[in-house]
Symmetry: D3
């Protein structure tokens, strides 16, 4: 059944028969008494809206809520240049009909990512620092949540496992920057592993819809991360680190957005915090550019220059031509 | 002779007898008819002003200009909390009395830096790209200038060889960011090697005083770099690259400051340009922070918190305490 | 045939039968299986969309691409308050059916404009400066392109010949400002003639659709203008000017946007560059205001106050009432 | 002894003989071998520098550190238009020679302020909310610290007890704004009482010198306040409030600076947080203006218009003339 | 008749038969020749658009202009999620069929508001100041206009009587801030009563449509208020106040927006002007937040967190949950 | 006597004996009981400070106030690189010893300037507009003040007659811009003549010290100009123009700074206001650049590139080299 082409990327006219996730159910009235139901459905490749369900077909939407899994049949059409799914059938599937990653975009490199992070942790020469990280990274429930959590709800790395992927990138880039700057690589590593832990409490993703939690909206992931670290560190007796060491770790979390106007309550004051900020920024911003370059919607005429400005990268237009040079970005085996 | 302690860093009261470079000669009149001469002299560790030369001693300054090498004797004092050199003797030394690097701050890793850059160039899989870089990097006069040029006149890496050091950092960080972002590492490398070539024409440093050239002031190093690339590429027949490839390389230079308000005539539009911008920024900004942390002047009371805000890092205050954790930043042999 | 009223400005209901230029061809699917084709067509007065072509009429669009000239028949209607062309017939016309200016907005004063610029050039007292300008302005292919090029793709003077008109305005205003400021009028004139030459390589307009070229997007017209000047000056032997003179001319181009955040890689550092910047700005901004005041769309209720804010002039609202005073702006014969 | 006029405000030439606090001890060398010691001393009215102590008098400074209490004798002079204390004698006084408020600026209304705050707390209709506030405001050590803490180190209310005074102002203004806006006055009161508690850990003042603590520099008073509330609330079993209620209280602290660029990690999202922000801002900013108007230094010529711009109020110039109208600001007994 | 539920707030499907005000009449053409008329109608609860009137029903719109009162019958529907009124009948009602406040949102507390303002005026101890205020506030035509005028056309307090309500809030908050800041409360009161008088000439509201007048658009309410004060003060002989006193009052009007970028020609330079600015700002901004919290449209899913960002409050998202604590904001009888 | 070289520009060591204006008298105390008096004196070429007057010479300052004319003898010296006048004699001269323009910088082209403005006025085709201008420009006391008033206190055209000179420049540039933009040249002329009339009440200059008046500080020259126009127009019966015409003229004054953040209460909404803004800006900004280029202080080493950034032109560095081209800016007889 899921052998059918994914409706997010298939050509117009393709027939569809696949499991999908319900993101939105909206009952609308059109002029002169016509009423219908419009759904937004998703797969691991993204989301798509349906053509309205008219008349008796509206009953197909009975019982649907955000997060319901459905089996959708129909074909791909478009309306005003926007692709839509024209349904010929729809029925509710059992909740365990498919794993979440089959229905929502996600990463696939979890095991290798964990290996990289865990080896970096084990290589720490300062046992105190390692034990602070262990409070999180040796906790199975933390790991389970962390490897699913997206890195943002609509921005960079907004997919299941995106936070883990972003963390690996920050660790990797942070190591290179720390080397150039002469910063303490162990503190930078600790910062990379701790800087976004607050997103576990700031985001909800279990329904497949990525949203801010109430606490995420009211306090933000930076404050939540500071509180999470504080609460975990309050338990061990004797304490795992001195007050100053705690302040240095908290400072890494508090300042990683770099500037007050980006939501950091303080600007980086240590070399390690400065390094962490640039590693975080480089991962987030170049990832946004890479994602925009991969979106067919910005290159309507298939040329190298995007046909409109792109909000994800501050409304720039972007260019994906390369000349005659062959790209080497996917070449395997390079150090 | 140069075994005497360097007067830039020695304790107050230390006797001085060493070769120094003249940075400034100023004749001043004080109230009630007193006149004197004040000099600014430098060594490889920085600069220092002298106490005024009164009466007959003013003749010591005859014939001095910026760039003269002198042998200065005296002792270290201070005035209003600012350190000064109280001269007891001064005479002009021959122009070849000492190499420039003995008189001006400079880096010491030139050979290793060249090795790293040249091996990266040789590993390029795209011969066309390599030949463009060779136009600069196989040119001995380019190499001679490049390895001396500072990376800025008063900002980050403002020392002899600072541009080469900065380039190595951008190459290293750029490689890590390109890996995370899935960018073409060869283009990023080319951008790292080309982005600041304009500084060779924008800065003058041969007198030991770092200054903007006229062209540097009127056009800036970005425009000068674009013109340098254009002129070198105009010579080979047939041309080394297509028009689009040239535009892509020029775009890397033109956009590497990232934002218009930082002097980029265009913002990055390719993934490689975005990666280069973040690598350049991370190298420059973390280097500024590291330099500020190493300046004793900001930590007047020897505590961990700087006693005033620091203009090099956007007027932040900075912190250099570490708690009990031993720093590992200088540990050798780490990958 | 072209005696029929221009469909861009005629009243609703007017019949249409005229040559038009194809700007856009879009095939759309509406709900419940309906599909159609929508065109955007243009004349010398602007552009208009068509009502969808349904059923067999879709075949009318076969073979149309951007830049095709068509003969369109029908009448003017509107949909949701937006004017549209309801076609009753459409067929492709020969490529030479009409000159570009009959199909795209353009200026009409070319000859007078050339006279003004050429006389100003000939009156230069400094022959060296004149010879630099001659490299461009005595080149017939440059003149042919320059007198067609728009001054922007969607902003001020966005019409065929707009760049020539803008240049004349900058020359005229620049002369008045230079007089007030005591600036060198010859250098200001040179700057006015050179500041936007890069637009010839930054814009494409031959299809009647104004677009950025790849080089225009990647480098911008300022960098392209600098490169064009550099390449033309590289040819003559002996060189037409000294290095400093070249830098002064390049500085006029490089700084004419005035501020880094408007894309100037350097800010004006000479009085002539400052004068040029203000002349350029005054021409561009007051032209935008004049164009907005002439757009009926902003004065829906025919009153003197625009009914909404206008993006071309930074989202201001504008006013076109005059009281009892008769306007003298169109009075002929005034110096 | 302290009957002698306060040297901060007395006219030039006034003899001085009073207890003062040492703020700074600096040993300086002047040109040509002269050395001396300069002190900064303070009283309840502010601070003043001394003329240099030359020769044997330098021994007067032996044993002085920041915070030492001294008995200073001499007269008031000035140097370059800046007032200075010309010492004729100085000796160290016992640490208990005078209470801190006799040596450092401070408020005098502590008891009335506490009454106002405590009555407001007792009038709360929601017992849960009151119990949260009691965790702080029923704690004697909290009260002792709170009534001494300044509201800033160099800005508004920078005096002993300034934080308590600022809190009373925020409570009073917040009540008026809440009434106008229809906000929940009890939550606004809770926010006013909690918003700046972090300053107890962010500021150090016990030596009479107001400084940031390490934690204050690295995390800021907002983050410290969030952590303090979290830690105090972690103790009671069962918890004093629900998770959402805690988030609402934390949100009041986190957002009270109103904008990210002023250091709030989140912007106000509840009506009560919005009200608190405006009350806090109105108290801080009008207090800064009132303090600037009371500084004789800005009205050098005794006219109504300040003779220079004033950094405390964003570099405005200010005006203190009133015309013929008598001021009623000090009229007693008004509600 | 007006017992029927108000169509702005009633549930979908509710039948409607009520007097309404015409805000907009628009004749539109749809594709394939269909034409219709769409109206925007309003009541005291807000505005709503109608479904298009097709065919013969278009005649219902004959004779309608902005400000016409109509009796509208039909039922509430929706189109694309936007509520609309589906008319079954419409006829023009006499101009006196209902008072303006029955047709346009308005406040209801006018008498109490006047009492508060008039008592505050009478309590002034400085008779000269009172007589200046009397020039406006004892003028019956001023009072009639002032109690109807909205405080903005689309922002805070945008309802009949909104200006009077805003004035009362500024008086109340201003009194609290003046008390905290030690400002002259009488001048602050005078400023509160005068600061927005220019809105009487800047806004038109008599048709029930709130609009800028020509003078309001060309000069703004601040300049108009300054001119109104100047003209009223020009009449009495002898003058009611000295030149400086006049300047102080004009300064209160001129500076009340606080910053140049918000349209104040000067920034506050007196303590009273600073106080007035904060009182004005607190009233306007917290009122905007309160109005946004009361808009059902932002809480589509009925949860506590707004489902999208809200332009009225600078694109923040907002939160209206309260936990278990009962709100006391509506408790009567509190001081 | 005044044949002696002007001390502002003469070389160091030059003897001085000339009439000067007292700008400042300051009595200072130096360390160890030394007291002295420092003066700031001025001539038509600028200002200079004196070396301190010690001992009995302090009596020379008895009776001096700002604006006193003195005969000063001595020679030019310098202290810390700042030029100072070392007095050997000083006595008070009679108040009529020299006209103000001999003692304060001023322009010299008054008569030609008036001719240009008066002819432009007389050429107006709309008599109503001319009569409004006559209210000011036919008033002898207005003319007397206008031809002396500086255009700013410390910025552009800050000299006696600077306002008249600036007005002529705005008229001239405005005419060129209006021509290019198709604006009504008569309204632009009216705006140029009225836009800065408020400076007559905003500035005081009769003592030779340029200062803000109280009204100038509290209201600014824009508001004062609006009030001046309003009051003059209130007198004639019947009125000289309609309400809308008055609003259009007031709008020209109110909006001429162009942006709110530069103190315009409204932005330009008419084409004429837009033109006036650019003419005003071009005159003010290019004049500032020209004045900076003429200041020897920025070109310490006599090279073409300023040795430091210059606050008058937004902290740019500037360049005054010209290459081989001869400047034509001073060529006579050009139109």
């Amino acid at each position: 059944m899921t052998q059918a082409p994914d409706p997010i990327q298939a050509p117009l006219g393709t027939p569809v028969d696949t499991l999908m996730l319900v993101h939105q159910v909206e009952r609308r009235a059109w002029g002169e008494g016509r009423e219908g139901v419009v759904l937004v459905l998703g797969t691991s490749a993204g989301r798509i809206g349906t053509a309205p369900l008219w008349g008796d077909r509206q009953a197909w939407a009975d019982g649907l809520v955000r997060g319901t899994i459905v089996r959708a049949a129909g074909r791909l059409g478009s309306f005003r240049g926007v692709r839509q799914l024209e349904l010929s059938g729809l029925r509710i599937a059992p909740p365990d009909a498919a794993p979440l990653r089959a229905l929502v975009p996600g990463t696939t490199t979890t095991a290798a990512d964990w290996t990289l992070l865990d080896e970096a942790r084990r290589a720490l020469r300062q046992p105190g620092l390692g034990r602070v990280l262990d409070l999180f990274y040796d906790d199975p429930s933390f790991r389970t949540a962390y490897q699913e959590c997206p890195a943002s709800t609509v921005g960079h790395h907004a997919r299941l496992g995106g936070l883990l992927q972003h963390t690996v990138e920050v660790v990797t880039i942070g190591r290179a920057v720390a080397l150039a700057a002469g910063a303490d690589r162990e503190l930078v590593l600790a910062g990379a592993l701790l800087h976004d832990v607050g997103k576990l409490e700031a985001y909800a993703w279990s329904t497949g819809v990525f949203e801010l939690t109430e606490a995420g909206a009211l306090l933000g992931h930076i404050v939540l991360g500071l509180l999470m670290l504080d609460r975990r560190l309050a338990r061990p007796v004797p304490p795992l680190c001195s007050d100053r060491e705690l302040a240095l770790l908290q400072h890494l979390i508090a300042s990683h957005h770099g500037n007050l106007e980006h939501g950091a309550p303080v600007r980086p004051m240590t070399l390690e915090a400065e390094v962490l900020h640039y590693a975080d920024d480089a991962s987030a911003k170049t990832s946004s550019m890479a994602e925009a370059l991969a979106s067919p919607e910005y290159f309507a005429e298939n040329g190298p220059l995007s046909t409109r400005s792109i909000w994800q990268v501050d409304h720039r237009r972007i260019f994906r031509g390369r000349g005659e040079w062959a790209s080497v970005s996917a070449v395997a085996g390079e150090p």
